[in-house]
Amino acid sequence: MTSSSVRRHRATGLVVLLAALVATGVGYAAVTGTAQAAAPAATQTQVDHGRQLFLEGCATCHGMGAQGTQEGPGLIGVGAAAVDFQVSTGRMPLSTPAQQAPRKAPVYNAEEVAALAAYVATLGPGPSIPTDSELSTNDADLATGGTLFRTNCAQCHNFAGRGGALSDGRYAPSLMNATPREIFEAMLTGPQNMPNFPNTTMGIQQKQDIIKYIEHLQTASAPGGLALGSYGPVTEGVAAWTLGLGLLLLAAVWIGAKVR
């Protein structure tokens, strides 16, 4: 027996619940940027799976709630992109404590990576995994990409993307095996000591230009012959002394040798 004077239909509660859900969904979609709206929405099972994987494999260093511990930084707000980058390249989980996490064979498969990323994304707003259209280099300009690369990337990763040394044994890795997604995510999230380049200061177009240039570096011709690793004058000097002067000294010894 209700005290209200309004007669409600049996399904009223369900309708209200549905309307609320729709309103929340629409409101959420309206508030978040178009980039994130285009990404596939994570399902609850994915998030749960991710949480389970996280507790098993990540919480020891990153904390049960990803708040961070002595061993590992907090992951709240790092976004799905950061997780995707670190875990799909095998950098995480870290096998031994080190100055820097090296790239290695990934421990988790693609589905598990997606789950972990989905879970961490729920912990706080952060950069999401780039979409295919964001990664497309169809409209990218190679020459602009080169200029952007030399301005923002070469000082750590070397002019040919072969990597370089940082302080205290850390290093900027070689880019020769990086995929467009990894490059985009790295620029966006700034893994470890790499600074980040958010879309507000380095727009998606610029990122695409840079990706196109890095792809060019990966397949670049070496017009002059053997590239000697593209490390510059150091390897050239070694070649001049060992190959060049070595052959010339051999020739000199041959010239001066007694003939039988």
């Binding site: 100055q99 190679l142 020459a143 080169g146 200029t147 030399r150 301005t151 070469a154 000082q155 750590c156 990763h157 070397n158 002019f159 040919a160 072969r162 990597g163 370089g164 040394a165 302080s167 205290d168 044994g169 850390r170 290093y171 900027a172 240039y213 060019h216 670049a220 070496a222 017009p223 002059g224 012959g225 053997l226 590239a227 000697l228 593209s230 490390y231 510059g232 004058p233 150091v234 050239e236 000097g237 070694v238 070649a239 001049a240 002394w241 190959l243 060049g244 002067l245 052959l247 010339l248 000294l249 020739a251 000199a252 010894v253 041959w254 010239i255 001066g256 040798a257």
Partner: protein, 555 residues
Amino acid sequence: MSVIVKEAGKAISRADERAPISSLAKANLRKIFPDHWSFMLGEIALYSFIILLLTGVYLTIWFKPSMNEVIYHGSYAPLEGIPMSQAYASALNISFDVRGGLLIRQIHHWAALFFMAAMIVHMFRIFFTGAFRKPREFNWVIGGSMVMIGLLEGFAGYSLPDDLLSGVGVRIVAGIIESVPVVGTYLMFFIFGGQYPGSDFIPRLYMVHILLMPAILLALVGLHLVLIFYHKHTQYPGAGRTNTNVVGYPLFPVYTAKAGGFFFVVFGIAGLMGGLVTINPIWAYGPYVPDQVTAGSQPDWYIGFLDGLLRAVPSGLETYWFGHTWSWNVFIPALVVPGILFTLLLGYPFLEAWVTGDTGEHHLLDRPRNNPTRTAIGVMAITFYGVLILNGANDIIAQAFSVSFNSVTWFTRVAIFVLPPLAFIATRRFCLGLQRRDRELLLHGRESGQILRLPHGEFIEVHTPISDVEKAKILGKVEYPVLEAPAETDENGVATPGLKGKKRRARWSRAYFGDSVAKPTPEEIAEAEHHMHELHDHEVHELEESGKSLPAHMD
């Protein structure tokens, strides 16, 4: 063929009526040069220089030494539409739009690396064999000067294309000039025509690179060669060789073929490397822009030791005295230390002549072991240089071997003080050991591995005497005496003039030669020979008694 010979003969006779062609030919055609591979190192440098001149002329046909900005519209797509200096654009043009241009550019650059390397190897050969002694001291100074000019010339050459890597190097040089006390800023503004980078530097550097330095080098090389011809080449001591003869082969035809052939060998190897191995890929570095830089920025190898020195300096070495900034952290490693090093280098023959008191002409070379202190100084210099050059690549080393460049730098800071003295001591001991071995060889021959039992029961090892050729080599050693300090006064009580200098010289002389192993005197050699004959007779006697056959070497 005979027609050509006849016509040539007529041309030469006509020339002979105007200039002493035949007299020169008579004096020089059959000039004798001794044969040893270590005498060809200077040739590598000479031929590399000629190759640089030839390829350099080609490059000037297409290179445009201007810093005016142009937009690139050439074959290299990754730079399409990019603004750059005309110098850089023309270097790209040579590499990608002139057939053979990339080859000539690469040969030119490889030849430059060979030029510097060969000069340094040659210089050390001269040093270790004492070929700089009288009458060749001036040639040594000329050679050392050419090394210095070569450094500047190489820097100028690789900076001309105005690419990102060499442009950063130019910035460093500008910063070094700025660090000079009192006049640094003025010098920098004069050289660059104003603030850095300005638009005058590349054209000015071009003049220096194609006109000023080559002219000076040509003059020095010419003088260097004339002196070698006039003094005649030195030779190693050996059988038939004295200080007053030359044993070898004539200039024409043997050395014409060997040395001339070697020129083609050097050119050929430079050509092969120019076609097969990339050097200075300016297209990959990009055009120079003052706010861009690449990780792993190094100069060409021969400037590496200076780079290493700059990197090794600890933080904060700058003072503010009398209202001015004194940039010791730049001025000392970049200008003072090389200045001291080159002064010591060029002055060494005069130092050694003072220590030994030697006024004789030396045309027989020293074997390095016979002057242990000089050899040890040379090895010490190489160690010092080597540590610095490695530090110049400390970030590449860090990357390649997964170490921290901070550790490499700290290692260098300690090693430049610790390793050279260790190298000095070790080398000296090694040389003295070799001298002792030489003495043993001369007096007692080589151990043959055969054991002999003497009649009274003693076991000895049979020694075979060394050949005359080896004896000659060992006996060619120059005995450097240890100079004593003269008496304080002469017999009349008059103080000896220049006493302090002479005492100092005596100390140096003792340090140099105090522990030299004495060359066996003729009496010692005779006695040792006699002893060996006695033993030899014993062996023969023993074997005949026992009925065994005589081994071959005993007949």
